[in-house]
């Protein structure tokens, strides 16, 4: 019932605003979600940020959102509909909305678009993402220290740079913590399908992987790990604290609210410009969820030290010497990866097995 009351409240606010200040209509902000707001992960956090946006601006903004929008032609229709109904700022929150966003933006030059995790921009399209790979580095370290079978399972979604970066970052740091560690990756080809994610987790666990990392959005792998017993997992996108202290031993939490508030403010002020924002732990866009007592104290301390060094910029998770999977040189001793390479990352680092699907 929560959403209904909320919609009612938003509508009431909107009605008030239009009645009292007819000349000063609220700014309409649209959100396009790839999953349901109740997924407990990715979309949930975007919607939490939307709620904070309303809290911050009160009746100066009016928000609309659409859940479960497929990546493709449907997304284009949804965004067109939002723009036609008066939205002046639209956040499209999944990688697969990239081309639809660019297409719709070309038709509505007065509407500002913000696309999450993509790389294509236009005069009225900005992109934003979070440096999730910084969080993956910490997960990788804990995974490497905690695994007893030296096998770490990874439920990947789609073979896009975002996901590949996460696998590489986790692997590099797991390997540093435990030279014998091996990663087994399953490509689920979905962001959200609880039954499939549960099956993937079970398959990995049955093959002896005792740490499961996931880049899909539901809590199903956590439940599978809990049922299996001696397996640890990490919350993805959201804290997933209901599975703490075990299997969930830590998490990466997306925090979009500050960014959404800043960009909305920019539109209200008329200062919005297309940009390319990519913030990490330091700026607070990526949060690390509480590391539970299932992790030994010394490992926890190391993980937190790693987090601090990433946050203050003294350490970059992609620091040489690093080779690519085929053995060719990538980064020399002490060299760090540039954002361009990271944004388009399409290769595994040395030591990972298997191939990236095309």
């Amino acid at each position: 019932m929560k959403r209904r009351t909320l919609l009612g409240a938003t509508a009431a606010l909107a009605a008030l605003a239009t009645g009292a200040f007819a000349q000063d209509k609220p700014l309409k902000v649209g959100f396009v979600y790839v999953g349901p707001v109740g997924d407990g992960g990715w979309t949930y956090e975007h919607d939490q940020a939307r709620l904070k946006l309303i809290e911050h601006f009160g009746d100066k903004v009016e928000t609309v959102f659409q859940e479960n929008v497929p990546e493709g032609a449907d997304a284009e229709r949804v965004m067109t509909q939002m723009a036609l109904s008066g939205a002046k700022l639209i956040f499209s929150t999944s990688f697969g909305y990239m081309d639809p966003t660019i297409n719709v933006a070309a038709k509505f030059p007065d509407v500002k678009f913000e696309h999450a995790t993509g790389y294509k921009t236009a005069d009225n399209v900005g992109v934003y993402s979070a440096r999730f790979y910084e969080g993956r580095a910490i997960q990788g370290h804990i995974a490497g220290k905690m695994t007893k079978t030296n096998k770490v399972g990874y439920i990947a979604s789609f073979p896009i740079p975002e996901v590949i970066r996460g696998i590489n970052s986790a692997f590099i740091h797991a390997k540093k913590a435990n030279p014998d560690v091996q990663f087994n990756v399953i490509w689920a080809y979905t962001w959200f399908d609880p039954a499939k994610e549960a099956d993937a987790a079970k398959a990995l666990i049955e093959q002896g992987n005792d740490v499961i990392l996931q880049h899909t959005d539901s809590t199903a792998p956590q439940a599978a790990a809990q049922a299996a017993g001696d397996v640890i997992t990490f919350g993805q996108a959201s804290d997933m604290a209901e599975y703490a202290p075990k299997p969930r031993v830590s998490s990466i939490i997306d925090n979009w609210a500050p960014y959404y508030i800043a960009r909305t403010q920019a539109v209200l002020d008329g200062t919005w410009e297309s940009d390319n924002t990519w913030d990490g732990i330091g700026a607070g866009m990526v949060g690390i969820g509480d590391i539970t007592d299932a992790v030994p104290a010394d490992v926890k301390e190391e993980a937190l030290a790693l987090k601090d060094s990433i946050a203050d910029g003294s350490y970059h998770p992609f620091t040489g010497p690093l080779k690519k999977q085929d053995g060719s040189d990538w980064l020399a001793e002490g060299e760090t990866a540039d954002d361009g390479t990271l944004a388009g990352m399409n290769f595994y680092v040395e030591g990972l097995t298997g191939e990236i699907p095309n």
């Binding site: 407990g40 959200f192 039954a195 549960a198 398959a203 093959q207 199903a220 439940a223 699907p357």
Partner: protein, 310 residues
């Protein structure tokens, strides 16, 4: 690549679990279609069963009660369809599709209060020494009771359709409702019973996903299982035994492809991902193509509207 990491025993055990929701939904739909009604709302009835079962199990703490209410919820959804198609004579295809959309919406609404909650665990049946038999014990005697219930249900439906008078009447209604009507059988009530049975089975299948297989509630969590069940009924040429085979094939290859990926088989992931659909359909098509005569074909009255005046 490390195929040795795949344990065939665990693989077979988990394919039985993966196939169970599809078996339940498909065997129910088989009975519905045998009576001459095409209900495309399986997905909607499954998801309704999933949330009804989940909600009741959480509130009461009893998974068994959850499954019972899931069956009731699925049957209630199905009876909406029955009312519309049998008494108001609406188009079955359109009504079935609407039922799917309706079910997805209703379940999402009811389910809002149940996100992120863990359901009470369904205990495995303790089969004592049977579970300790090497290999077979792990495969056959180490599951939750719903797995056995689904298998028993398939056997019952098979026997009912093949050996009982009731089964004969049901099939007669599905093959020629006018003839059955002329003989004095009450076509509409018989079909309503079949529809309600189909809904109850779909509801159980949905609840199996939300209570045992995943287990949690999320919107749209059946993710197309109802459509797979519908396809399996068709490709199994309306035979109970082949529904079982089709569901095991589908469930088995789904689990196998994930295991192969985890073991690093150097086959493109895209091919592995579509293999469950391709192989299941191919096998069932080949089997029904080899069949002689009309034995494997659809019930003659499938999807036709019956009205006593015509």
């Amino acid at each position: 690549m490390n195929l040795g990491a795949i344990d065939p025993v665990l693989l077979i055990a988990s394919l039985m679990v993966a196939a169970t929701p599809i078996i339940l939904a498909a065997i129910g739909e088989l009975v519905v279609e045998k009576s001459g009604v095409l209900n495309l709302g399986v997905e909607g009835m499954m998801i309704t069963g999933a949330i009804c079962g989940f909600a009741v199990a959480v509130e009461s703490g009893s998974p068994v009660l959850g499954f019972a209410l899931a069956a009731l919820g699925g049957a209630a959804m199905a009876l909406i369809f029955g009312l519309l198609t049998q008494y108001l004579l609406s188009n079955q295809v359109a009504t079935g599709l609407a039922l799917t959309l309706f079910g997805l919406g209703v379940s999402a609404m009811v389910g809002q209060a149940y996100r992120g909650i863990k359901p009470p665990a369904t205990t495995r049946i303790d089969m004592g020494p049977l579970s300790d038999i090497p290999v077979l014990g792990r495969i056959l005697f180490n599951h939750d009771w719903m797995v056995y219930f689904a298998l028993a249900l398939v056997a019952c439906v098979w026997a009912f359709l093949k050996f009982t008078r009731g089964g004969l009447i049901l099939r007669a209604v599905g093959e020629s409702h006018d003839a059955a009507h002329a003989l004095g059988y009450r076509v509409v009530p018989i079909r309503l019973l079949a529809i309600a049975f189909g809904g109850a089975c779909a509801g159980l299948g949905g609840a199996y996903i939300s209570l045992i297989r995943v287990p949690q509630w999320t919107d749209g969590m059946t993710a197309g299982a109802g459509w797979i069940a519908l396809a399996i009924v068709v490709f199994a040429s309306w035979r109970a035994g082949r529904v079982l085979l089709g569901a095991y094939l589908f469930g088995g290859i789904t689990v196998l492809q994930l295991n192969l990926q985890a073991a690093g088989l150097p086959v493109p992931v895209e091919v592995l991902s579509m293999s469950p659909y391709l192989i299941t359909i191919a096998v069932l098509v080949v089997m029904s193509a080899r069949q002689r005569g009309a034995a494997g074909s659809a019930p003659a009255m499938l999807g036709r509207i019956f009205h006593a005046s015509s």
